[in-house]
Amino acid sequence: MKAALDRLAKRAAEEQLLDVAYTSTDSPFGPLLLAITPKGLVRVGLPNQDRDELLVELAERVSPRVLEAPAALDEARRELDLYFDGKLDSFDLPIDWSLSDGFRLRVLRQIARIPYGETRSYTEMARGAGNERAVRAAGTACGKNPVPLVVPCHRVLRSGGALGNYGGGAPMKEGLLRLEGVLDESPRG
């Protein structure tokens, strides 16, 4: 049955019927869900997020043609592995932004430009997206980031330097910042 299903996924891709391909991959923080469309990476699910819910959301918002097809995500998986090993500081993956729009999309595009190992504040992100007073909305945009890690919302902190929230949980945000050398042994909390 495995061979038959592999053949099916391959044929679906060839005949352009594979609208959303997904797979799971391991990370130091737990399993990640990766989903890609012909336009690019559309969703990264963090370990604490419900996999089935993410897939249902993709079916409703992108296309119901959602198939498990690990081969389509080989490059994304390779880059993430290197990133977690501290050997990659900038992702070279096309992103499909279709799950975000308006102010949120502008905030995410700002975040995508924060370099490895640096941090910015929510206020700076709000200003960059064109509305300095919309700090809370900028925070929401971070929380709803469909492609965390690759769009590094973990690099956005509160103005006072406190870490703030993270979709994958505060310990993961702390761990990522430590990996990038932003945090020393003791977190600023």
Partner: protein, 170 residues
């Protein structure tokens, strides 16, 4: 799930929306049944190709599917049509000798294949009814839908098929 919209006259329109699950869910839950149906309907040799055809056809049509309440029945119906296509194509084509030889060198078949061989030898309607009932566990009404006949006719085909199988296998 419900969705409410407004008509051009401002009336509220309430639609029942049953969202389509990710296609992978259909594969995870029903691929085994579809394969079982196809093995019964066309035999082990043809089942793999029919399986591909079935799921490719389903994937193509899926986004425009309006009623998501019986996805299993929908898949089984497609599988049944693909099995008919398979038999038609073979009916027109002479079976090459090489194909017979290939069957002979294959490894031992699972024990219940004797039954499916007997099922494969039934007349088309009876074979379809028996497969849909026992491999796919479809109720009479859905067998009738798949075969394009009345539930009574489906019940009759099934009954005749089972009677014949009992005689063959006794």
């Amino acid at each position: 799930m419900w969705r409410i919209s407004r008509s051009t006259h401002g009336q509220r329109l309430i639609h029942v929306v049953s969202a389509l699950p990710p296609f992978q869910v259909l594969i995870d839950e029903h691929a085994g049944d579809v394969m079982a149906v196809l093995r019964g309907a066309v035999g082990r040799e043809g089942a793999d190709d029919c399986f591909q055809e079935t799921f490719m056809a389903a994937l193509r049509a899926y986004p425009s599917l309006e009623d998501a309440r019986n996805l299993r029945g929908w898949l089984i119906t497609i599988a049944h049509r693909k099995a008919i296509d398979y038999h038609r194509a073979r009916g027109r084509r002479p079976v090459p000798v090489a194909e017979v030889a290939e069957v002979a060198v294959e490894g031992p078949e699972p024990s219940d294949d004797g039954i499916w061989l007997a099922v494969g030898a039934l007349p088309p309607k009876q074979r379809a009814a028996v497969t849909l009932r026992y491999a796919a566990d479809l109720p009479h009404r859905e067998i009738a839908d798949a075969l394009g006949c009345s539930p009574e006719a489906a019940r009759r085909s099934l009954h005749e098929g089972i009677k014949r199988l009992r005689k063959e296998l006794a």
